[in-house]
Subunit: 156 residues, 2 copies
C-alpha cells in the first residue's frame, strides 16, 4: 500500500479509537523522512482548550521532538481537511505537505464550524459575526521598531 | 481613558517589555466582564512552538482559568491584527470582541508572514505554496458517524 494512504488511514484510525475517551473526531500524524515523529487527536473539550485540534497538538509535539519551531520537510496527515486555525499553524511551522481525507463539508454535516470559519475569514472585518475593531492611532507598530533594533532576535 | 484604549495599550506594553527576553513582538490580553483573565506574548522561538503566538497562548490560559473551551463574552486585545491561525482560534473559542492596533501590513514590513497566509488561505489547494492533497476515497467521514453515535460526546 502507498505510504501516503497508509498514514492517512492511521490518522483516521487514531481518531476513531479515541472518540470513546472524550476526544473529538479528528486525528493527525506527522512524519519526517518517512518516520512518524508525532501524532495526536482532538482534545478541545477534554483539555478545556479551544486550540487543542489534532493538527495543532501534533505540530506542537513534532516541534518539541526536533527542538525547532520549523517543521520544513515534514508531512502532516489529517483525518479531515485542516481548519483555518490549523492551516495557519501549518504555514507558520513550514510543513511541506498536507494529506487529508474528508473535508470541511463533511465536518459541517457533523456540526463542526470549519466551513463557517473559512467563510468568515475572507469577509471584511465589519461584516464578520465576531466584532473585529482596529484602533489604529496607538502606534502599535512601534513594537516592530523595538524588535528590529534587538540584536538577539530570532526572525521566523 | 477609554477601557478599550487602555487594554490595547497594555497589549503593546507587554509585547515591548518582553522582546529583550527572547519573545516575538506581539502581545495579547483577554478580559471578561472588564477584568483581565489572561495575557501573553509571542514565544514561538523560545518554546520551539510555531503555534505559540500571543493570542493562542492567551486563549489557552483564559480557557484554563474559566475551565471551559468556550470564551463567549470575552474580549481579546492584540498589539497587532490576529493572523489566520489566531483568527481561527478566536472563532473556535467563541470570543465576542477583538480589538487590535496595527495590522498585517505593518507585520509584513517587519518580516512576518501574516499577510502571506491571509493571501494563501483563499487560494484553491492546488495553487498554494504548500502541497495540500485530498485522498477522498478513504472513508474519513466514517469518523463522524462513530462520533455521532457516541452518547457521551460533547459537541462544540
Amino acid at each position: 500500500m502507498d505510504d501516503d494512504i497508509k498514514l492517512a488511514l492511521r490518522a483516521i484510525k487514531i481518531a476513531k479509537e479515541k472518540i470513546g475517551h472524550g476526544c473529538g473526531p479528528f486525528g493527525a500524524v506527522i512524519t519526517k523522512n518517512g518516520t512518524i515523529i508525532a501524532e495526536a487527536v482532538n482534545r478541545v473539550t477534554l483539555n478545556h482548550d479551544p486550540t487543542a485540534h489534532a493538527e495543532i497538538l501534533a505540530i506542537r509535539k513534532a516541534a518539541k521532538v526536533i527542538k525547532s519551531h520549523n517543521l520544513h520537510g515534514c508531512t502532516l496527515y489529517c483525518s479531515c481537511e485542516p481548519c483555518p486555525m490549523c492551516l495557519g499553524a501549518i504555514y507558520w511551522a513550514g510543513i511541506s505537505r498536507v494529506i487529508y481525507t474528508c473535508d470541511r463539508h463533511n465536518a459541517a454535516q457533523a456540526g463542526f464550524s470549519d466551513k463557517n470559519i473559512y467563510d468568515e475569514i475572507i469577509l471584511d472585518a465589519k461584516s464578520r459575526k465576531i466584532v473585529f475593531k482596529q484602533i489604529a492611532n496607538l502606534n502599535g507598530e512601534e513594537v516592530f521598531r523595538v524588535w528590529e533594533k534587538n540584536e538577539s532576535k530570532i526572525p521566523y
